[in-house]
Symmetry: C2
Subunit: 199 residues, 2 copies
């Protein structure tokens, strides 16, 4: 027996989302089948909406329904410091932690020669422009310590060498509460390399 | 920072699906944000489609876009045996196992006095009609061995006592490959109760 067409279309769509396999897609589709019409209409229209309404902030590249995002518009935030991140989804994550009150810049990708992504393909040019036009004191590179992340960090820091601003990167090391016994050697070697003198 | 309206609507919809929490909903929403327009349109329209096009088979209660489902229409199947199941989603599961070639009957729920679900709320009446009108030899109750499942099985078998058909239920016991050490006492007591003489 095959599923009715509309249901198998839905299952195929669900299957293309991250961490959703055949079985989960089927379970979700049947759950959707038993939802009321109001919910289905909202779900269906908000799918179209995110494609039509959401664009990139003209300043920082964050997602927004306006030209300028909420954070760039917020005058209470520290505007002389920029936290450079890979993807707009990390902004909400960092905001929830409530430990940073500056502005952001979303690269929207990382330099990856293997995948044909060059510095021109990500938002580095607009970062340089901001540093030239705004009154920036420091940029913090909050980029994953992967090969692509480190290439990107290095590229940006080389590019900004002569700009007379502080360039920093978030600390890589042992997470709080972790047991050293179970750490991978890469994290451990970074923790050794970035050691701090305590007396 | 709050998400743009359309995105937070989408996250709220996703969160209402089984086993999807706040974090997963956010991750899925961002994954959807980066999908192309064609995919989003198909997803959005198939959501509306399942609500508009899918109905219940007039004979067995299976989901279908026609009046009669594929299985009830299939003359190559054994039509004197009916497998009674709780939910239409189990049909595909059983079909994939390729160990049953009869017809089905979907109860679409189980009797549950605790939740106010009486025998009249599920498709028992139509099952009795089928047994009276079709040439049925046996019904197999393939219902979960929960309290509600056992109540429903008992109710149906009492109702069909004088109908001169074979009533059977699927075997409950130890699944193949299971280690007896880790079995729960209920399964083990069922396995003892339903023991088979081997010599």
């Amino acid at each position: 027996m095959s599923y009715p067409n509309s249901l198998s279309n839905l299952i195929n769509c669900l299957k293309q989302l991250p961490s959703i396999g055949e079985k989960t897609a089927e379970r979700l589709a049947f759950a959707l089948l038993s939802k009321d019409e109001e919910y289905i209409k909202l779900f269906s229209s908000s799918l179209l909406d995110i494609k039509q309404k959401i664009k990139r902030c003209e300043i920082c590249g964050n997602i927004t329904e306006n030209d300028i995002c909420e954070i760039c518009n917020d005058n209470s935030r520290n505007s002389d410091i920029i936290c450079v991140i890979e993807d707009a989804k990390y902004i909400n994550l960092l905001e929830k932690m409530k430990c940073y009150n500056g502005k952001y810049h979303v690269l929207n990708g990382l330099i990856s020669p293997m995948n044909g992504i060059s510095p021109d393909d990500i938002n580095i040019k607009s970062l340089i422009q901001r540093i030239e036009n705004e009154n920036i004191n420091e940029i913090i590179l909050a980029i994953s310590p992967t090969l692509e992340g480190q290439t990107t960090s290095l590229y940006i820091s080389k590019l900004l060498e002569d700009k007379n601003i502080i360039i920093s990167k978030i600390a890589y090391g042992i997470p709080l509460g972790a047991d050293i016994e179970y750490l991978d050697p890469m994290t451990f070697s970074m923790a050794i390399e970035n050691r701090n003198k305590i007396s």
